[in-house]
């Protein structure tokens, strides 16, 4: 073949023959669409934590991850120092108590995953490869959901190991704690998937990172405020639906419904609503969010 020959043919120059090996053909396998999807998913997951990027891009995700873990670690340490003391945290209330950190992570990192490709017009390159537009959208959404899952899972694992280590009877404690595995894995899933859908739906609509971050924070703040005001001041029907306005209340309600343990004195336990209502609304929110991301990437010019 001419290309193979060209690759090793000497190029004449003043100093003699130079063997130019700078470019050669490629005859190996071409992995296609699925491999591209998996690659994009992993690359985006790494990007969500600033891995392989400059130090500056690591500050926010690592800082928030640290803040997410610290309370669980401190509580564990106190239990170790003062045996018998009761930790304020458990698998049920931890993510609810630290919901602000999850919200900030979505607000900061969802735009990180999608805004840059739009602003720098890298999408033209992605879409000129085997990857379909829906593949891109789903890989990015999946990466965000996975990042949130790990962020939420880490402190629950800290509680898990701390509980085992501080107990006097370690084998029994391991047995006890393994029974909590559905909560340890389930709660992060219940939080991660809908939050990623919501965050990506908002972030994918603007190439401006600051706007996206602002919009996501605004949605969380406004919905929490409106929900709170309605619950306090509203009467009758209005205060009945108040808990459904704040996405985090929806998530806690869904967790409560699926994994069965309500947090005392939380909006969900105070609400006069059947638990499946929270689950159904969370599912609707998630589906709408993912549909919005898919719709956006089907329409976007590349």
């Amino acid at each position: 073949m001419t290309r193979r020959e060209a690759a090793v043919a000497p190029r004449e120059s003043a100093t003699g023959a130079i063997y130019d090996l700078g470019y050669r053909g490629y005859d190996g396998p071409r992995l296609g669409r699925r491999a591209a999807f998996v690659t994009l998913f992993w690359a985006s997951l790494r990007a969500a934590f600033g891995l392989g990027r400059s130090g500056r891009s690591k500050v926010v995700p690592w800082g928030l991850s640290a803040i997410m873990i610290v309370p669980a670690a401190v509580a564990g340490a106190i239990q170790a120092l003062a045996p018998g003391g009761l930790s304020p945290f458990n698998y049920d209330n931890y993510l609810w108590d630290l919901q602000a950190i999850l919200a900030l992570f979505v607000a900061a990192q969802a735009p990180e995953l999608v805004s840059s490709d739009q602003r720098n017009r890298v999408l033209s390159l992605y879409f000129s490869h085997a990857l379909a537009r829906s593949d891109y959208a789903l890989a990015k959404f999946g990466a965000m959901a996975a990042a949130l899952f790990f962020l939420a899972l880490a402190p629950l694992l800290v509680i898990f190991f701390a509980s085992i280590l501080v107990s006097t009877d370690v084998p029994a404690a391991i047995g006890d704690q393994l029974g909590n595995l559905p909560q340890i894995v389930g709660s992060p899933l219940v939080y991660a998937i809908p939050l990623a859908a919501l965050g990506m739906a908002i972030a994918s609509f603007t190439p401006r990172r600051a706007y996206a971050t602002g919009a996501i924070i605004a949605v969380f703040l406004v919905s929490a405020a409106v929900g709170g005001i309605l619950a306090e001041a509203g009467r009758g029907r209005l205060s009945l639906v108040a808990p459904l306005i704040n996405p985090f209340v929806l998530l806690d309600g869904t967790r409560d419904w699926l994994l069965g343990a309500s947090i005392p004195d939380s909006p969900v336990s105070r609400a006069d609503l059947a638990e499946p209502v929270f689950g159904a609304l969370t599912a609707v929110l998630t589906v709408i969010g993912i549909a919005a991301v898919l719709w956006r990437y089907r329409r976007i010019a590349a």
Binding site: Y26, R30, A35, A36, T39, L40, D117, L125, S128
Partner: protein
């Protein structure tokens, strides 16, 4: 096997803008120059061939695969260099090109190896580990070319590859394009509004204007037809033009210059002899650079003659 063929390909944006107007063409492999003014439909055509845009009507095939139905398959074997910026500033060239190689289906090890090779091929060395944001325009264009060839495409679509480059950078980029196309046998389409560039690197010319095919011919035949000799004299350009016309040439005065059509080499001798006979002071004798306008003028004349 035709490399690219289109049948009455039409693309309208909204109801008023027609980017491609029933374009029908067929080209064989080679280095193909796609020339046209800004807005002639060059980028639109490339994007349709890639499947980035859907045509309003008509059809197109690339390597005998229909763009409407086999887009993903086509894209595996096509490299694309967009006209606009398309590089993330916070990633190094190595990481970016390797990532794009993986997107194109290369296994991880092959992607790394080929990234090193193509970056060396385009002339990026130590700087390839630094974030792209700090690169000059010339270096960015090289990265764009590198990501387009990292997966060893069978067809390379380059949209204004010399965009924003200084003259030296243009020469280097054109040389790279020429080498990539000829030595490695990758069929290449170079879209440009500068005919001079097309002429230097391409073997075949497609000229489009307002979405219509203006010309489709090997570059050699085209150059012959519009070759123009510029003769600049100190005084008496008009008289010279008259004498040259009398000698049977097509010539016209243009300020201090006389423009002589050169379909072959005969006019050179005549011009030399006439200037000598008239005793004029010759200040400049040059092969005029072909510009897009020449092409359109030449086309117009052919139409008149027909």
């Amino acid at each position: 096997m035709p490399l690219i063929s289109t049948q009455s390909l039409t693309k309208r944006y909204g109801s008023s803008v027609t980017a491609l107007d029933a374009l029908t063409l067929e080209v064989q492999p080679g280095i193909i120059g796609l020339v046209g003014a800004n807005g002639a439909g060059k980028s639109t055509l490339l994007k349709i061939l890639l499947g980035l845009l859907k045509p309003t009507s008509g059809s197109a095939t690339v390597m005998e695969m229909d763009v409407a139905t086999r887009g993903p398959e086509i894209r595996q074997y096509v490299g694309y260099l967009p006209e606009h910026d398309c590089l993330p500033p916070d990633v190094s060239a190595t990481d970016f090109v390797s990532h794009m190689g993986r997107m194109a289906g290369l296994p991880p090890a092959a992607a790394r190896e080929r990234t090193a090779e193509v970056l060396r091929h385009v002339g990026l060395y130590e700087e390839r580990y630094r974030p792209i944001g700090g690169y000059s325009t010339g270096m960015k264009q090289r990265v764009k070319l590198a990501q387009a060839i990292v997966h060893d495409p069978k067809l390379l679509l380059l949209d204004e590859p010399t965009n924003g480059l200084d003259p030296a950078g243009r020469d280097e980029m054109l040389d790279l394009v020429h080498r990539t196309g000829t030595e490695f046998g990758i069929a290449t389409v170079v879209a440009s509004h500068l005919l001079g560039e097309i002429e230097r690197v391409c073997t075949f010319l497609l000229a489009i204007d307002a979405g219509k095919l203006l010309q489709s011919a090997p570059i050699a035949s085209f150059v012959e037809r519009t070759g123009t000799l510029g003769v600049e004299v100190e005084d008496g350009a008009d008289a010279l033009a008259a004498r040259l016309v009398a000698a049977g040439l097509t010539a016209r005065a243009d300020g201090r210059s006389v423009l002589v059509d050169c379909p072959d080499e005969r006019p050179y001798d005549i011009v030399r002899d006439v200037i000598d006979e008239m005793g004029l002071s010759l200040t400049r004798l040059e092969q005029r650079r072909h510009r897009l306008e020449d092409l359109f003028r030449a086309e117009g004349r052919t139409d008149d003659a027909a």
